[in-house]
């Protein structure tokens, strides 16, 4: 180690005698903090670089390359062609039927799954005996992937609506239970103690402390439930169906109608996006009290 490296703690001596000018920093109001309406709008969407930039750029690139003929129609038809496929299918009434069929399945499945998930979640969260009753089972069931349950459901219930609805409710119920249970148990112990010290009875402890305190966790559960119910829908409809968005995609695949396959994917994406927005709005309304929440 005689390469001339100095040990780290030996510093080169600084000229102490020379008066050194102290570095300062001065902070003033940034330019254009309250500028015109246009600059404020620009800042809000963060033009030209915002979350919309990349998706829009890809869409434009996709459209251009399609029209130039660089992208084969079999692989990926132009975005406008996909929209056109949607309009055509809507006009002959197929898209409407498929859409309502799928939405009805999700609706019924969610209703069953959320009802069971919320009821058991609250019971297990509030009662020790409820925890013993449900928690083990749900934790075990939770480890089985949603899609792997499908064959069993088909063996049990056939390929009818029941299998599809049950798969969706299974996907929705489990995450709701898990999140709600954890949220109720996670309510700040000091607040529960405060309520006890204030002479609060059991009913009011539940209605004013435990359940409102579990609301953020409930909404997380709801978001997962909605996402998994769509996943269940896709799985159920892709295996066997004679109506629904999954059926639309399968049929399009058979006839090599790539535009209709894309249309189905877009519809799934929109359903997922709307579900997510729905929870966001709920959060905005129900969680105003949260310190992290900012108005507007």
């Amino acid at each position: 180690m005689s390469t001339g490296f100095a040990p780290a703690r030996v510093r080169s001596p600084r000229a102490v005698s020379a008066p050194r000018e102290r570095a300062t920093e001065t902070f003033t109001a940034p330019a254009g903090r309250d500028g015109s309406r246009l600059t404020r709008l620009r800042r809000r969407v963060r033009w030209p670089l915002g979350i919309y930039t990349t998706p829009v750029a890809i869409l434009v690139l996709w459209q251009v390359t399609s029209e130039l003929g660089w992208l084969p129609e079999k692989i990926a038809p132009a975005p406008t062609a996909i929209v056109q496929a949607g309009i055509d299918l809507w006009k002959i009434g197929e898209l409407g039927t498929d859409l309502t069929t799928s939405l009805r399945r999700v609706g019924i499945g969610l209703a069953i799954g959320l009802t069971i998930g919320i009821t058991t979640g609250i019971i297990a969260g509030l009662l020790r005996s409820g925890e013993y009753l449900f928690n083990g089972v749900v934790q075990i069931v939770h480890t089985i992937p949603l899609l792997a349950v499908l064959p069993l459901m088909i063996v049990w219930f056939g390929i009818d609506e029941l299998t599809k609805v049950l798969l969706i409710s299974f996907g929705a119920g489990v995450p709701m239970y898990l999140n709600l249970f954890a949220a109720i148990r996670g309510v700040d112990q000091r607040l529960i103690e405060m309520a006890r010290a204030a002479g609060v009875g059991r009913a009011r402890l539940i209605s004013r402390v435990l359940l409102p305190g579990a609301l953020p966790g409930f909404l997380v559960g709801l978001r997962f439930s909605l996402a998994y119910s769509v996943l269940g829908l896709v799985a159920a409809e892709t295996v066997n169906a004679n109506a629904g968005i999954g059926y639309l995609i399968n049929r399009a695949q058979t006839y090599l109608r790539t535009d209709q396959v894309f249309l189905g994917l877009v519809i799934y994406a929109v359903i997922g996006l709307l579900a997510d927005q729905f929870v966001r709005i709920l959060e905005r309304v129900l969680l105003q009290w949260r310190p992290s929440y900012e108005a507007q």
Binding site: R190, R196, A198, G199, Q288, W289, R290
Partner: protein, 237 residues
């Protein structure tokens, strides 16, 4: 005031240990009706443990604790429910009709009537602690336990809170036990100051000073020196 006519709190030979550590060792204490007692001691001397026993949040290992059924605790942190507005936070322990009117009246006393509809997150530290004072007083308790309620506040806000507590005491005829490690706070508020050491009440001082004498003067300084001595801080000052 220390001449106890009617007893509000009666603690006899109370022992509390956590594992091998004896925190309260045969401690006895009485507090008279509408008496203001300050329990002084360094952190970890067991004063919060005693307060939890008095509040019914914990049980002694030996001995008896007798306290009024109507009692309230003001905690070190405000412990407001963040998901309830100020008014609903104050009415949490009220079951009778007219709860809102009573809560508004007490909020008025602590100067926060205009904040009844506010969320706790919009309150400053002092305001939040005033709400928790209102929450404690609205049930008209016979005993109010205050667990270092002003420790997290800045010095100026703390002085304002002392004034407020004195004023509230005149209106609400309750016995109060304040736990603190702040000698000046003890002198400012107490009828009687108890210094805790080794899990017992080490020494007791009756404070018969008027408001001006509590702020400045030789009597105050003598008391302060004695208290610091009891706390083992005499050499420092």
């Amino acid at each position: 005031m220390s001449d106890v006519t009617t007893t509000s709190v009666d603690v006899r030979d109370v022992r509390r240990k956590f594992g091998d550590r004896v925190v309260l060792d045969d401690l006895s204490l009485t507090i008279g009706e509408s008496e203001f007692v300050v329990l002084l001691g360094p952190s970890g001397c067991g004063k919060s443990t005693l307060l939890r026993l008095l509040g019914g949040l914990d049980r002694p290992d030996a001995g008896t604790v007798t306290v009024p059924r109507e009692r309230a605790i003001v905690f070190q942190n405000d412990r407001l429910l963040p998901w309830q507005r100020v008014l609903r936070n104050v009415t949490i322990g009220l079951y009778e009709a007219g709860a809102d009117e009573r809560a508004l009246a007490v909020l008025d006393e602590v100067g926060l009537k205009d904040h009844a509809r506010a969320w706790p997150k919009t309150l400053s530290g002092g305001e939040a602690q005033r709400v928790s004072l209102a929450r404690a007083l609205v049930t008209e308790p016979d005993l109010v336990l205050l667990d270092e309620p002003f420790a997290a506040l800045d010095a100026i806000t703390r002085l304002r809170m002392h004034d407020l507590v004195r004023e509230l005491r005149r209106k609400h005829n309750a016995a109060m036990l304040l736990v603190t490690h702040d000698v000046d706070e003890a002198i400012a508020l107490a009828d009687r100051i108890l210094v805790m050491s080794d899990g017992r009440i080490g020494s007791s001082y009756d404070v018969r000073l008027d408001q001006d004498e509590r702020a400045i003067g030789t009597a105050r300084e003598d008391l302060r020196a004695s208290l610091l001595g009891d706390l083992g801080l005499a050499a420092v000052h």
